[in-house]
């Protein structure tokens, strides 16, 4: 699914990712943990295609070079990032946005566009499953949403777009326990043999709900340690500093 080979990324001359390697197979769930400033969000941004980074190395996505693709083509080919800080977009209706997004992606994949009525049915089922208040659909995209609503909206988008590889950038931060449960249920419901996840988080708590196949510790722009779910529990006890010292 994803093969990252010695990826380096710097911004304004400052190196953030430094020789990062990671392989994700279809159906796998990988968690990346790491202290502030270790490069977690940069990794998510670089994979999604955000401008402003000086990039070296190679990223293969479904066997093809990802880094050369424009942002929207990555999305159309099934890459999805749930933002750490979802943007507030004034004046843009949430429902219209979701529909435009789905239909643009479907069109790019050669699928038939979904009409307004079918879309409404789809989005209503999904919001119900995620215990999201339907009212957000008629509101402006993320404008005035609470932190939890914004994150749930990201998960709603993910379930509607049905990506092949979903990157969750600190989706758990700022969530209360109920919201965390809803977000995790959303992710777990999407888990399948074909779909992979890259879950970026600070805390082990989320990984109690979403059991990852692998846990990686990111320190100074590269993976310092890889393990199974147990590693997250260990990290919680000893802290990141120890891991950094271990490398």
């Amino acid at each position: 699914m994803l093969d990252i080979k010695s990826l380096s990324a710097s911004i304004d001359g400052k190196k953030i990712l430094n020789g990062f390697n990671l392989k994700i197979k279809p159906g796998e769930v990988h968690a990346i943990m790491g202290p502030n400033g270790s490069g977690k969000s940069t990794l998510a941004n670089v994979l999604t295609g955000k401008n402003g980074y000086e990039i070296k190395g190679q990223v293969l996505y479904q066997g093809k070079d990802l880094l050369d693709l424009p942002i929207e083509e990555r999305a159309q080919k099934g890459l999805f990032m749930a933002f750490q800080y979802p943007l507030e977009i004034a004046g843009v209706n949430t429902n219209n946005f979701l529909k435009t997004s789905l239909n643009t992606i479907r069109k790019a994949r050669g699928q038939k566009e979904v009409d307004s009525l079918d879309f409404l049915k789809l989005v209503k089922t999904k919001t119900k499953n995620l215990k999201i208040d339907e009212k957000i659909l008629s509101r402006q995209l993320n404008v005035g949403f609470s932190g939890g609503e914004k994150k749930k909206n990201e998960i709603l988008q993910m379930t509607i777009l049905e990506p092949k590889l979903a990157i969750l950038d600190e989706t758990d931060s700022g969530l209360d326990i109920d919201a965390l449960r809803i977000v995790s249920d959303g992710v777990n419901a999407l888990r399948s043999k074909e779909r992979s996840f890259l879950i970026i988080t600070h805390y082990q708590r989320l990984l109690d709900y979403i059991k990852p196949d692998f846990v990686h510790v990111l320190v100074d722009g590269k993976i310092a340690k890889t393990g199974c779910g147990e590693l997250a529990v260990e990290l919680e006890k000893v802290g990141y500093e120890k891991m950094g010292a271990n490398k």
């Binding site: 999604t48 295609g49 955000k50 401008n51 424009p70 942002i71 929207e72 990555r74 999305a75 159309q76 999805f80 990032m81 933002f83 979802p86 943007l87 977009i89 004034a90 004046g91 843009v92 946005f97 435009t100 997004s101 643009t104 992606i105 790019a108 402006q140 995209l141 988008q157 777009l161």
Partner: protein, 432 residues
């Protein structure tokens, strides 16, 4: 400009009183000429230069007037009363949805020619706002005279069609409208502009509205059809006790237009809301100037102006809120936000507050910027192309102005016209 006034006088017989007014005002205009940037109110819009570059041989309409228009131009699927003006001349009116006993409608020409109702409008001819106002007093030949009795609410909106056919080519069209709403009455009014082909003309209009106690006038100006027209529209509003005036301006079609709106909150608890959407491309030049005069206690006013400028377009908003010393408990608000999306486009903003009362709440704000690139990234990460993302953000930005419209049917109509317009626009956006 070619001033063939003798011929005009022959074609437009007016009483001796009006004739004297015409001559006096024509002389004022001759002395001053068109407004230029030497005047503070015109410093962002040098009309003298604009006209000498684009319409240097403007003529006063002769008497070979025509009044044909394409009936396709009338708005469909929207029940409404209508008045049709062609080249500024009153051509027809239809108030079939209303109780005609309650409405007095006349072509202004009749009022100008007869003595009977002239006394009702006489005082308006003393207004000397600028040289265009004087020119209008001198050359006005038609327009609208509409009186609505007390306690009458219109069942359907009134659309005033301002059509211009080939006759208007290279002409300066001067007209006026007088609309008065009696106590407790209500009217939704749409001014809709459309010109034939790409004819070039100058339309100089003065609208006078009087809104009596507890009455409500909602006015919507729709200038959405991209054309070659030049115009100056002055609106004077007199608001009496507890009345409401709402004005929405969709400023997007004309090559050049300056809208100037003066709201006079004369009695307590009256309110006025002026909101505008300016969406300009090519070499368009639009200005909106609002003057809100709080002259009594407990009055409320607010303005929201949202502008998007593409290509080589130029937009200006000058907004003044004036509060006299008697206008205690005034609530005034003003906000202008603009997106300047090309290096060759510009937006000027001049907010002014002048307050002489000591117990008021007034605020204003003005921002000019570019599209937020993080928002673009967010939308593109959901599969939208850059053009789609830009369009969605621009549409969303301007939608905030459309959302101020408090009449759902009219909001829908204007929203449709706006989407048509935005779908026809090519976005070439610089990222600074």
């Amino acid at each position: 400009m070619i001033l063939n006034f003798d011929e005009f006088q022959k074609a437009n017989q007016s009483g001796s009183e009006l004739n004297n007014i015409r001559i006096k005002n024509l002389n004022i205009f001759k002395e001053k000429g068109f407004p230029s940037k030497r005047e503070e109110n015109w410093k962002y819009t040098d009309l003298k230069t604009i006209l000498s570059n684009n319409l240097s041989t403007l003529e006063i309409p002769n008497n070979k007037r025509t009044s044909q228009y394409n009936s396709e131009w009338l708005l469909k699927d929207f029940k409404h009363n209508q008045i049709v003006l062609v080249n500024g001349d009153f051509v027809s009116s239809d108030f079939s949805f209303e109780d005609k006993e309650k409405i007095k409608i006349k072509p202004l020409k009749i009022v100008l020619n007869g003595e009977k109702d002239f006394e009702k409008i006489r005082d308006y001819f003393t207004d000397q706002q600028n040289s265009l106002t004087s020119l209008n007093h001198a050359l006005v030949n038609d327009g609208i005279f509409l009186e609505i009795e007390d306690n009458y609410s219109f069942n359907k909106p009134l659309i005033i069609y301002n059509f211009f056919n080939k006759f208007s080519e290279n002409k300066i069209i001067n007209n006026k409208s007088f609309i008065s709403l009696g106590k407790n009455s209500k009217l939704n009014l749409l001014e809709y502009y459309k010109a034939e082909d790409s004819i070039k003309y100058f339309n100089n209009t003065i609208h006078n509205y009087s809104i009596q106690k507890n009455a409500m006038l909602k006015k919507f100006s729709i200038d959405s059809n991209l054309d070659n027209s030049y115009g100056y529209h002055l609106t004077n509003v007199k608001s009496y006790s507890n009345s409401i005036f709402e004005n929405f301006l969709f400023s997007s079609g004309s090559s050049f237009v300056k809208n100037e709106i003066h709201c006079n909150l004369l009695e307590s608890f009256s309110s006025c809301f002026v909101n505008a959407l300016m969406f300009l491309s090519n070499q368009q030049h639009h200005e909106l100037k609002t003057n809100i005069n709080h002259k009594n206690e407990h009055c409320k006013s607010s303005q929201l102006v949202k502008s998007v400028l593409l290509d080589k377009s130029n937009g200006t908003y000058q907004g003044k809120i004036y509060v006299t010393k008697d206008a205690q408990k005034t609530d005034g608000y003003q906000l202008s936000k603009a997106l300047v999306l090309s290096e060759n486009s510009a937006f000027n903003s001049k907010p002014e507050l002048e307050i002489y009362a000591d117990d008021v709440k007034c605020s204003h704000g003005s921002t000019t910027g570019n599209i937020d690139q993080n928002s673009i990234f967010y939308l593109m990460s959901r599969g939208l192309s850059k053009e789609q993302a830009n369009k969605m953000l621009i549409e969303g930005f301007l939608n905030e102005a459309i959302e101020t419209i408090t009449e759902p049917n009219i909001q829908l109509l204007i929203s449709k016209l706006f989407i048509d317009k935005i779908n026809k626009t090519k976005f070439e956006i610089n990222e600074h």
